[in-house]
Amino acid sequence: MSEDKSVKMNFEVIGEDFDRAGEASAKIKRMLQHIGIPAEIIRRIAIGTYEAEINVIIHAGGGEVEAEIFPEYTKVIISDHGPGIPDINLALQEGYSTAPDYVRQMGFGAGMGLPNMVNCSDKFDIQSTVGEGTTITMEFKHNS
């Protein structure tokens, strides 16, 4: 890849479709492997993207994942038109979750998704408006 070029990938995430959860993350992972990004960096990108996918599936009724792979870093943007998050600081607290019981029985909804995204990314941003939706942007350096 030359300095000014990037690889862009887009995926649709379908709400409440747990069977396909992780497909976007898996495809991004394969592309990163193909490009030759270090395995440890790929693992962090896969974790962050998977957690975001799961949140969209649980809470938002669907959304989009956009990944852009630059020579120096990968940017992943996950956006939805779901209900939005009234208190982002509360949502970022480990253990806080509004997931319904059936989701928790599957082992999701333990309030660890957003903290995992923060921990595995080099840059994390969340924008949310109640009634409009949520957008999460994560950046992962390839040499960290």
């Binding site: 959860a21 993350s25 898996a26 693992r43 599957m106």
Partner: protein
């Protein structure tokens, strides 16, 4: 220690015959909370869980785990096995509890650095 050796020693049932069992295991992690596994488990670990639905395959595959051991005679869904077959994820089953399996893995030296 390789996954294949764990199968013999712990008398595990192989649920995905196509998966590669000739891989080394480095450490283990036990949890039924998927995000906890996502955040804490590391590549080449064996994951001990009572979850049998197909999302366990995505987790194992994304992290690069050596194998999943599903404990306590938990039913593993057919969709899970089909997905594991497709993604080369080894799923092993035991009637023993998570506690017992972890204890035995530890006795074998897995998890001790």
């Amino acid at each position: 220690m390789k996954v294949s050796e764990l199968i013999t020693t712990l008398e595990l049932e192989v649920l995905v015959p196509t998966a590669d069992l000739n891989v080394d295991v480095f450490g283990g992690y036990a949890s039924d909370l998927l995000s906890n596994v996502m955040g804490q488990a590391e590549p080449k670990m064996v994951w001990i869980t009572m979850q049998g639905h197909q999302n366990i395959v995505a987790i194992a595959s994304l992290i690069g785990l050596a194998a999943i051991i599903v404990t306590a005679d938990t039913k593993v869904e057919a969709d899970t096995l089909a997905k594991a077959d497709l993604n080369n994820v080894a799923i092993l089953a035991s009637k023993k509890s998570t506690y017992e399996i972890c204890g035995k893995l530890y006795e074998l030296g897995i998890g001790r650095v």
